[in-house]
């Protein structure tokens, strides 16, 4: 049998199609968007590529900076909540038996296969003023009032159209992104290391802190990045669940391309989002190198 690495023809044949695909549908459009980002509007539909950086300069206006800052904060809060929620879930999954593992993984994946729009509207149905939570609370309120407690009138909780709603929605949507890499990292962990720690006198929390977390660090880092990046660029969730003040970058970009009809500014914002993403990738790569071969064998 021939060595495929040696056989250049075979290598070229297998790689040709993906390369062409990648060129047509990624590199070329990205180049066009980049070109727009240094262009100017010269008519309702025409853009002249003038090499100007004014679009990028416009991004440093206070309004745009606020949206970007909000986006980063919302995405970070989302990522951290995801980590806190996903870690025990992932850890518990690794201790389930094989049959249960399959079902638990399926349950984690199930929302993934449901349309995002449907899930978001379902969330609205749960959280709106007359939604499941508020009517439930109203019922409870009524019951307590019946027992003679001084309850006053029921005020529905403002669950929707604010940053709280955006974070809830983002956490809901992005939780699988966190659970899966954490689960992969924790499941690889030799269970006898945990037993050894207990055997040597450590309690469960000490074992998590001193053994499990350090050894799962690469998985935690992967989970943070994999969750943060899509959360930062989220469009539908903040758009539907947030109020007018809870704009995230993606919505701002969408406005430039549609309502504002300012393609060069939209293109510049798109690239700024990409640069932010790349910065976080770089931080992760740097941390990984600094961390050395921790957890690796």
């Amino acid at each position: 049998m021939q060595d495929w690495r040696e056989d250049k023809t075979f290598f070229r044949a297998t790689i040709a199609l993906p390369v062409i695909w990648f060129m047509i549908f990624f590199v070329v459009p990205m180049a066009m968007v980049w070109a727009y980002s240094v262009g100017e509007n010269v008519g309702p539909v025409e853009v002249a590529i003038t090499g100007t950086f004014s679009n990028y300069a416009k991004a440093f206006s206070p309004e745009v900076l606020k949206v970007m800052g909000d986006s980063v904060v919302l995405a970070m809060v989302t990522t951290l909540i995801c980590l806190v929620v996903a870690f025990p879930v992932a850890l518990a999954m690794t201790f389930a038996d094989e049959k249960q593992k399959t079902w638990l993984l399926l349950l984690i994946m199930l929302p993934f296969w449901t349309n995002l729009l449907i899930r978001t509207y379902a969330l609205i149905a749960v959280m709106r003023t007359s939604g499941v939570i508020n009517s439930g609370l109203e019922g409870l309120h009524g019951l307590l009032a019946l027992t003679g407690m001084q309850m006053g009138t029921f005020e529905p909780l403002p669950l929707l159209y604010n940053k709280f709603a955006v974070v809830v929605g983002l956490v809901y949507v992005h939780l699988p992104f966190m659970v899966l890499p954490l689960y992969a990292a924790l499941d690889r962990l030799d269970k006898s290391l945990i037993e050894a720690s207990l055997d040597l006198g450590a309690g469960h929390l000490e074992t998590i802190r001193r053994i499990i977390v350090p050894l799962a660090a690469p998985g935690i880092a992967a989970g943070l990045v994999i969750t943060f990046i899509p959360a930062l660029g989220a469009y539908l969730t903040p758009d539907l669940l947030g109020g007018p003040d809870d704009l995230m970058i993606a919505s701002l970009i969408e406005r430039q391309f549609k309502r504002a009809n300012d393609w060069p500014f939209g293109a510049a914002l798109s690239f700024i989002l990409m640069y932010i993403t790349l910065i976080f990738f770089a931080i992760r790569a740097f941390m990984e190198r600094k961390g050395g071969k921790v957890g690796a064998h």
Partner: protein, 375 residues
């Protein structure tokens, strides 16, 4: 045995997983300072029993006492035992020193004393020169020493060892046998080792418990396990044995005779056995306790040395010879078709040719060689 000298007492302990009984009403006492081995084929429940001693599994029934204290409600991190895991379970993100010091953090050992104790434990396992190494820069044998030091530094009342030698290569395994036994002698801590390797158990342990399908078969010293097995399973599991079914024909206080169709003859015991006449029983004879003699066509059988004529002697033909250097194993086909194993030490450099394939031979043994087994 008084409670004071008993470090581990296992009382009627069973462990069930659904319908499977992993450990079945095991009762066991281990004296302080002993090197004890739990021996048995895989799936016999020995590891489950060890894990119950460590606290990773809880008995479904029965009680475990360590140094007189009931362990029923005590979690692994509060037990006065430490374990050396089969995979060693050395923490990969810590240096050797940090690994060994890990357990001392939870024992309220003053920081100043930690260094001395860790280095002393590392010296015990001859690793004090590698304290700053990371586990991924060490061999399997060295990682095992880290695991040993990490457990011993806690000065446990009992050290549990789960198949400690199984992951080492053959040469190192031999060396570690002696080293572990020496270490145990030096530190004076009770060792409880799980192994499926009978050589390992016999070579290292002061006493062994043989288990099969969750049940304790026999607890005895290595030589007693070999020479006085309690039943067929132990006789067969420890070393090789020729087993014959037979009926007890003569049952006197000072001798007994078993008639065996399988052997095609009678087996004489020069001592009394406990059993009732006419009962079906098993007789085991170790291969090295059988003597091979040349057989001439038509010649009378040799007289047994210390048995009535016609007993403890049978005719056969050499079928297979395995030359093992120090000894040779002969597979002999008896006249009635049964195969029997005989081993002979190669005492002289020249006598290996004495018996060869298809030789007609007599097999003869002493009246104290066979062992009567009732189950």
């Amino acid at each position: 045995m008084s409670d004071r000298d008993t470090i581990i007492r296992v009382e009627e302990v069973s462990k069930r997983y659904g319908k499977v009984t992993a450990v079945d009403r095991v009762t066991l006492e281990i004296p302080r300072g002993e090197f004890f081995a739990l021996l048995g084929p895989s799936g016999c429940g020995k590891t489950t029993l060890l894990r119950m001693l460590a606290g990773f599994e809880m008995p479904s029934e029965g009680k475990i006492f360590i140094d007189g204290v009931d362990m029923s409600t005590i979690p692994p991190n509060k037990r006065p035992v430490n374990m050396v895991f089969q995979s060693y379970a050395v923490f990969p993100h810590m240096t050797v020193f940090e690994n060994v010091a890990y357990g001392l953090k939870f024992d309220n050992v003053a920081k100043a004393d930690q260094y001395g104790r860790v280095m002393a434990a590392l010296a015990d396992v001859k690793l004090d020169h590698l304290a700053e190494r990371k586990p991924d820069q060490m061999s399997g044998g060295q990682r095992q020493r880290v695991a040993l030091a990490r457990a011993l530094v806690k000065k446990p009342k009992v050290l549990l060892l789960d198949e400690p030698l199984s992951a080492l290569d053959a040469k190192l395994r031999e060396a570690m046998r002696f080293e572990l036994a020496e270490l145990q002698d030096k530190v004076g801590i009770t060792f409880v080792m799980v192994t499926h390797d009978q050589d390992e158990a016999l070579a290292m342990a002061g006493r062994c418990a043989v288990m099969d399908r969750g049940k304790l078969m026999q607890t005895a010293t290595p030589s007693n396990l070999y020479e006085f097995p309690a039943n067929k399973f132990v006789a067969d599991f420890i070393g090789s044995v020729n087993l014959f079914e037979g009926t007890l024909e003569v049952d006197e206080p000072d001798h007994a005779i078993v008639q065996s169709e399988e052997l095609g003859g009678r087996i004489f015991f020069d001592h009394g056995v406990s059993g009732a006449g006419g009962e079906k029983m098993w007789v085991g004879i170790r291969p090295e306790k059988i003597e091979l003699l040349k057989r001439e066509e038509g010649a009378a059988p040799p007289t047994p040395e210390d048995a009535p004529s016609g007993c403890n002697v049978t005719a056969g033909t050499v079928r297979q010879i395995s030359y093992l250097g120090s000894e040779s194993i002969y597979e002999i086909d008896l006249v009635n078709g049964r195969r029997m194993q005989v081993s002979r030490p190669n005492l002289s450099r020249w006598d290996q040719e004495d018996f060869t394939w298809d030789d007609e031979v007599w097999l003869r043994w002493h009246g104290d060689s066979p062992v009567l087994l009732q189950s």
